[in-house]
Amino acid sequence: MSQTTKNTLLFALVAALILLTGFERSWNVALGIVNMGLLSAIMALGVNMQWGYAGLFNVGVMGFVALGGLGAVLVGMPPVPDAWAAGGWRLIGGLLMGAAAIAAAIVAWKRLPQGWTRSLAVAAILIGGFFLYRAVFDSAVSAVEAVNPAATGYLGGLGLPIILAWPVGGLLAAGAAWAIGKTALGLRSDYLAIATLGIAEIIIAVMKNEDWMARGVKNVIGLPRPVPYEIDLQNSAAFTARMADWGVDPVAASSITVKLAYAALFLAVLLILIALAQLALQSPWGRMMRAIRDNEVAAEAMGKDVTKRHLQVFILGSAICGLAGAMMTTLDGQLTPGTYQPLRFTFLIWVMVIVGGSGNNFGAVLGGFLIWYLWVEVEPRGRELIELMTAGMADGSWLKVRLIESAAHMRLFVMGLVLLLVLRFSPRGLIPER
């Protein structure tokens, strides 16, 4: 069997699994899996660029995805004029002062001659800058957060169409990736892992606590949509008439239409990204990346700037994760920082890349769909399995209750098992790199 046939069969298999869900359960669930599968595939593409092309170990995917979500709020939500009047500009000024202090410290570090004076000057700039920044920033924050805290209490966004938020989410993630890459790339590979793990936790902590930015754990809800609302469809005479013609219930049809519209948008983005990624991989740039991954010393001897290329691909991959994050927040219609869990948003994406086949873009896409399907399906299937196993036990026995309760935690176990099995018996993944 040629590789192409095998790949087609694998994709057909995943499609069949999702179709089966559609027939067996409902098309709503199946389309839900497709939509998140598309997003997962995009995130997996991003991680695959970093790991598959360049061998960079990024375990901060969650942070970049969350930054993308923040981008969706900052672009899509309408601004809150009262909050801007109360202290918005002062707040921005405070942030700029903080940034200026850091920049001044870096300049001082680079310009001044080495010695005690330099260390003292940099420390003085940083400490003085910190207190100055806190003095301006804190009062502005409390002023902004005091504006109608139950409904807004934040600065709001720019009020632009939410589609624009997608590239902006990517840019935010790229900025964070630049900062972290500048620090940790060029050091040992584990250090990048720890640094990204840390930055992801910090991004989530900032988003949870800085209420002026995106309301923190109070969540921003009701983000504008790029597609029509279900209720509008149900109220539109044309839509209900056509659905009546086809003989479908307009309420169910409206929610499926909305999901299909999202799927079409996401598919378009995914196809563009795959095309770009394939072109990049087969260009001289892609060959150089793989050469660097396979032998850094040799590539460096050939005059390639390894650290710079690593930084480049790290930023690109993170930007794609941020883009997917903005798209996901758009799909959800809300930003809920409390729901970002590293197991779900970082390590699950890694399972997708490894299972799909690192270094192969189609592998990453396949892994995204397959693993997301498993993630959704393991819980109900696990419960069915446990119910079958415990069918013989007396009803209400503590062991039975306990087992059925814990079935929900099966998915982490299964994900770990799948990852270990693939790493052990098929380390190159389902669709290996060519």
Binding site: G55, I202, A205, N209, S406, L419, R424
Partner: protein, 336 residues
């Protein structure tokens, strides 16, 4: 000005909590650093190993409590600790046999082992949630305080109280005992010396007839002991919740890297450094400053540098500073 009260407030809110948290981090970081030194990879499953060890100990503790066994003022968990360590050691030896040994034979790249440890992390996390559930579990019993705030005030006549919890006392004491035992083992016993030799130079150690499989197995047993002790102490001091152990991964790795990966002494120093900075940066200094400066200079605000929600940021910033200026850590560790 009242330096005595200022010192008591400082001890109560900064020195004692940071010392016990630092001990927990140091024992955790010792485990990470040992695995790094001997097996040469960063073990992402360490946080969940701690959770598993703590869980095993909790289950045994509940059994003991059910039978009516107790240690009086000391938590029963200490009695259950050896059993918890044994269960965790069995699990880790099984994991090594089933998972890691394959990659060791293949001489896989360290980063592959890190990904493998990620899979192990998933499974352990699922296992812990499966067995004990994702919720908070309370298993501390016995006397709550060694010194409680009111008695201290009555005893000394100071206006500041000093509370010294039993769990904090036990943590600090256990950390001292564990560190002494570990260093004695590594520096004085034959097995410990063979471990260090293996860590320094694998090939040379093999030539001198050291059995690598035995070294690896002993390492896992010691790591199981360290992880379980750290997990139980943290659980006694704060509370046991599987997810918090996963989050401990960052400060623990920061401690190990700041001290120098592969250096046991570095792990201890790193643990206390991270813990003290975390507590000092997130502590509201108002009280201490009010005691030490003349009344008219007393601050109005809380004088808190960062809110406690950002405590992870502190370990991260220290990590970044060390990575920028001294990538091998304070006690030059390995840089493979």
């Amino acid at each position: 000005m009242d330096f005595l009260n200022a010192f008591v407030a400082l001890a109560n809110f900064v020195i004692i909590p940071a010392a016990s948290y630092g001990s927990q981090l140091a024992i955790g970081a010792l485990g990470v650093t040992l695995i790094y030194g001997i097996l040469r990879f960063s073990n992402f499953a360490h946080g969940d190993t701690m959770a598993f060890g703590a869980m095993a100990t909790i289950l045994v503790t509940w059994g003991l409590q059910g039978m009516g066994v107790s240690l009086g003022p000391v938590p029963t968990a200490l009695l259950a600790l050896p059993a918890g360590i044994a269960i965790t050691a069995l699990l880790l030896l099984f994991t090594d046999w089933a998972v890691y040994s394959f990659y060791r034979e293949q001489k896989a790249k360290p980063v592959v082992l890190v990904i493998v440890s990620m899979g192990v992390m998933f499974m352990m996390n699922g296992l812990v949630r499966f067995i004990i559930g994702p919720d908070d579990q309370n298993f501390a019993d016995g006397e709550r305080f060694i010194i409680n705030a009111r008695n201290f005030r009555e005893m000394t006549g100071l206006s500041e109280g000093l509370a010294f919890r039993t769990s904090q006392g036990i943590t600090i004491l256990t950390a001292i005992i564990v560190v002494i035992l570990l260093f004695w083992f590594l520096n004085r016993t034959r097995t410990g010396k063979s471990m260090r030799a293996y860590s320094d130079n694998e090939d040379l150690a093999l030539l001198s007839g050291i059995n690598p499989e035995r070294v690896v197995q002993i390492t896992w047993v010691i790591v199981a002991a360290l992880a379980t002790i750290a997990g139980v102490l943290y659980g006694l001091d704060k509370s046991f919740k599987p997810f918090t152990y996963f989050q401990l991964l960052l400060p623990i790795f920061a401690s190990a890297i700041v001290g120098g990966l592969g250096s046991p002494l570095g792990a201890i120093v790193g643990g206390y450094l991270i813990a003290f900075s975390e507590v000092m940066v997130t502590y509201a200094w108002k009280k201490v400053i009010t005691y030490t400066v003349p009344p008219e200079m007393a601050p109005d605000g809380l004088v808190q540098l960062l809110s406690t929600d950002y405590k992870f940021a502190v370990s991260f910033v220290i990590l970044v500073i060390v990575l920028l200026f001294r990538p091998t850590g304070i006690f030059a560790g390995k840089s493979v």
